[in-house]
């Protein structure tokens, strides 16, 4: 079995979720690496869109910004933000990848602030950007993040981006499009999905070298467990070769 680091594992696991013929709204970093890896392995027809307007570029290298010139390099279209978000709103974008400083059991994300006082936050982060929009509109949201109980919290200080809100049908009741929401949470220790009725986060797969207990210990809320929890398949030699040689030779992402 080849040697790999945590980032490589997470990128490979994420890339496998993207099936051939799907569409994905991506950001810089891990999402982009996962998407490029999927294109170079099992899903050459994956449609990539960037929030600033780029559609289906032939990415010559990892973009440094979701609006830089790489995001529409030899693209099939260079449009604008409204066009991309409307494409998501019409139901044409299947996946998106998001992150945040905090995530709760319903997959709600915080990328706005630490502290509860909006007028005087303890720490200010960028805010939603396009994250809330992608999470509201794309069919399936995936989060790639380290497993850490300061990150996986009982309650976000601020809900920037919707998961299933307060669970059950709260998301649809709020007026968000029907049938979409958080889909996979991929960490260094495990892969989680969301239980279909309560919409609570649930362990479905444990990464090599970790246990369910490890995951729970590094999570600030109680995780549900799938009836059958499997072991996450490690990266294959071929995945690692493509990731290291073709996707991220400068190790921008996998060297973190």
């Amino acid at each position: 079995m080849p040697d790999y680091n945590v980032m490589e594992l997470m990128v490979c696991v994420a890339s496998r979720e993207l099936e051939e013929g799907a569409s994905v709204g991506v950001g810089t970093g891990v999402p982009c690496a996962a998407t490029m890896l999927a294109q170079k392995t099992h899903a050459p027809n994956l449609l990539i869109v960037f929030e600033a307007g780029g559609v289906a570029p032939l990415l010559p290298e990892m973009p440094i910004s979701v609006g830089d010139s790489r995001t529409f390099y030899k693209g099939v279209m260079a449009s604008g933000m409204v066009q991309i978000m409307e494409t998501c709103a019409r139901g044409t974008v299947d996946y998106t990848f998001l992150g945040g400083a905090q995530i709760d059991m319903y997959g709600n994300l915080n990328s706005t602030q630490i502290g509860f006082d909006h007028d005087r936050p303890k720490v200010r982060f960028p805010g939603s950007g396009g994250a809330n929009d992608f999470a509201s509109l794309c069919w399936r949201t995936m989060v790639v993040t380290p497993q850490d109980s300061r990150r996986f919290v009982e309650k976000c200080d601020f809900i920037t981006t919707p998961g299933y809100l307060t669970g059950d049908d709260a998301r649809e009741k709020a007026g968000l499009p029907k049938g979409c929401g958080p889909y996979r949470i991929i960490t260094n220790m495990a892969v989680m999905d969301f239980e279909p009725v309560s919409k609570r986060m649930r362990i479905i797969s444990i990464n090599p070298g970790y246990s369910v207990e490890d995951v729970q210990k590094n999570c600030g809320f109680e995780l549900l467990k799938a009836d059958k929890i499997i072991e996450t398949a490690p990266p294959t030699a071929e995945e690692l070769r493509i990731l290291r040689e073709e996707v991220d030779p400068e190790r921008y992402v996998i060297g973190r």
């Binding site: 950001g27 810089t28 970093g29 929030e51 600033a52 307007g53 780029g54 010559p60 290298e61 440094i64 910004s65 979701v66 609006g67 830089d68 010139s69 995001t71 529409f72 260079a78 449009s79 604008g80 933000m81 409204v82 978000m85 709103a89 709600n108 706005t112 909006h118 007028d119 005087r120 936050p121 303890k122 720490v123 200010r124 982060f125 960028p126 805010g127 939603s128 950007g129 396009g130 994250a131 809330n132 929009d133 509201s136 509109l137 601020f158 809900i159 920037t160 981006t161 919707p162 809100l165 709260a170 998301r171 009741k173 709020a174 007026g175 968000l176 499009p177 400068e250 921008y252």
Partner: protein, 330 residues
């Protein structure tokens, strides 16, 4: 947080299209030369207390020269649309030019990290912040461009981005479903950097337009900076290349490498080294003051700024990087 609550954030601008119409009625539609320097444009069209929007996407196709000049002229108490704002936000926060902010993406520089100084500014309590998503803010420009007071959107509902925003929950009269009505945003002034325009302001943009077509239409006054001024015949030769028509434009400023240190698609890549230096030097207030003096306050113009940061030789390298001739980091 609640699913059906209106935002409690402040609405900093008037969304009434009839008031905007009264303004636009008097705005000239004459096709006359609007060429001036950035200094003149900022003197004439950017005033203390007004509401500002900046085109582009953070460190991509931004009107850097206008941002710097606003600092040099010491504008204060402005409102700002922090829509996809990264390096532009970093500059404007360095000058503390705004005290109220519609924030969708601020403080950060995407994968590059966060601006310590901009972060401190927002944590200081000196700035009133109303929250939006990028699309929410883009839709607000769009509503203004449409000449209506709001449009319905389906994002942010149920989140605190919505609660600390200034949208209102409405019900679709056809489906009965809830929507977030976002109010039209008519900035007093906006600045947009383009690839080419004529002396009247008819502008061409290559590559993505981000939200600039709507920002241009929403803004009461519009400053265009351009990589180059081209003859109006060139505009008329390909009228479907025109992204921004002249009657929206108040000032045309020719600023080659005008998006530097940002990226300009098909022209030059971003200067990542300089952007890293910005963020690094922000950690030390004294060093940051000296850095700002050197790069902004003691510069007369964007030419000076470029010349102290490597001049034509650096621009040539950034151009080679943009065109993938130089694959490596410079």
């Amino acid at each position: 947080m609640g699913a059906f609550e209106n935002g409690i954030g402040k609405l900093f601008t008037d969304p009434d299209p009839d008031n905007a119409r009264a303004f636009f009625r008097k705005k000239s539609r004459e096709m006359k030369s609007k060429v001036m320097t950035v200094k003149e444009a900022v003197e004439k069209f950017v005033h203390d207390g007004e509401y500002l929007a900046i085109g582009g996407f953070g460190a991509n196709r931004i009107p850097t020269a206008v941002c710097h000049e606003i600092l040099r002229q010491g504008r204060k108490n402005m409102g700002f649309a922090g829509h996809t704002a990264t390096h532009d936000f970093e500059i404007l926060a360095a000058g503390k030019i705004f005290d109220r902010l519609d924030a969708s993406y601020v403080v950060g520089l995407e994968a590059r990290g966060l601006s310590p100084n901009a972060r401190n500014y927002l944590q200081s309590g000196e700035v009133d912040v109303t929250e939006w998503s990028n699309y929410g803010l883009a839709a607000r420009f769009r509503a203004a461009g449409m000449g209506v007071s709001f449009v319905p959107i389906r994002t942010t509902l149920g989140t605190e981005t919505c609660k600390y925003g200034a949208g209102k929950i409405i019900t679709c009269p056809f489906t009965g479903e809830p929507y977030l009505a976002v109010p039209a945003l008519y900035p007093d002034v906006a600045a947009i950097h383009v690839h080419a325009c004529d002396i009247y302001g008819n502008s061409q943009i290559k590559g993505i337009s981000i939200s600039d077509l709507d920002v241009a239409r929403a803004a009461k006054r519009l400053i265009i900076t351009t990589e180059r001024i081209i003859h109006s015949d060139e505009i008329r030769r390909e009228p479907n290349q025109t992204a921004i028509p002249y009657y929206l434009v108040d000032a045309v400023c020719e600023v080659p490498y005008g998006s530097y240190p940002g990226n300009m698609a098909y022209e030059y890549f971003s200067d990542e080294e300089h952007l890293r230096e910005w963020m690094k030097v922000e950690k030390d207030p004294d060093a940051f003051k000296k850095f700002l003096d050197k790069n902004i306050y003691n510069c007369k113009s964007h030419f000076d700024y470029i010349s102290i940061n490597g001049g034509m030789e650096k621009m040539m390298k950034l151009r080679q990087k943009e065109l993938l001739i130089l694959a490596q980091e410079i």
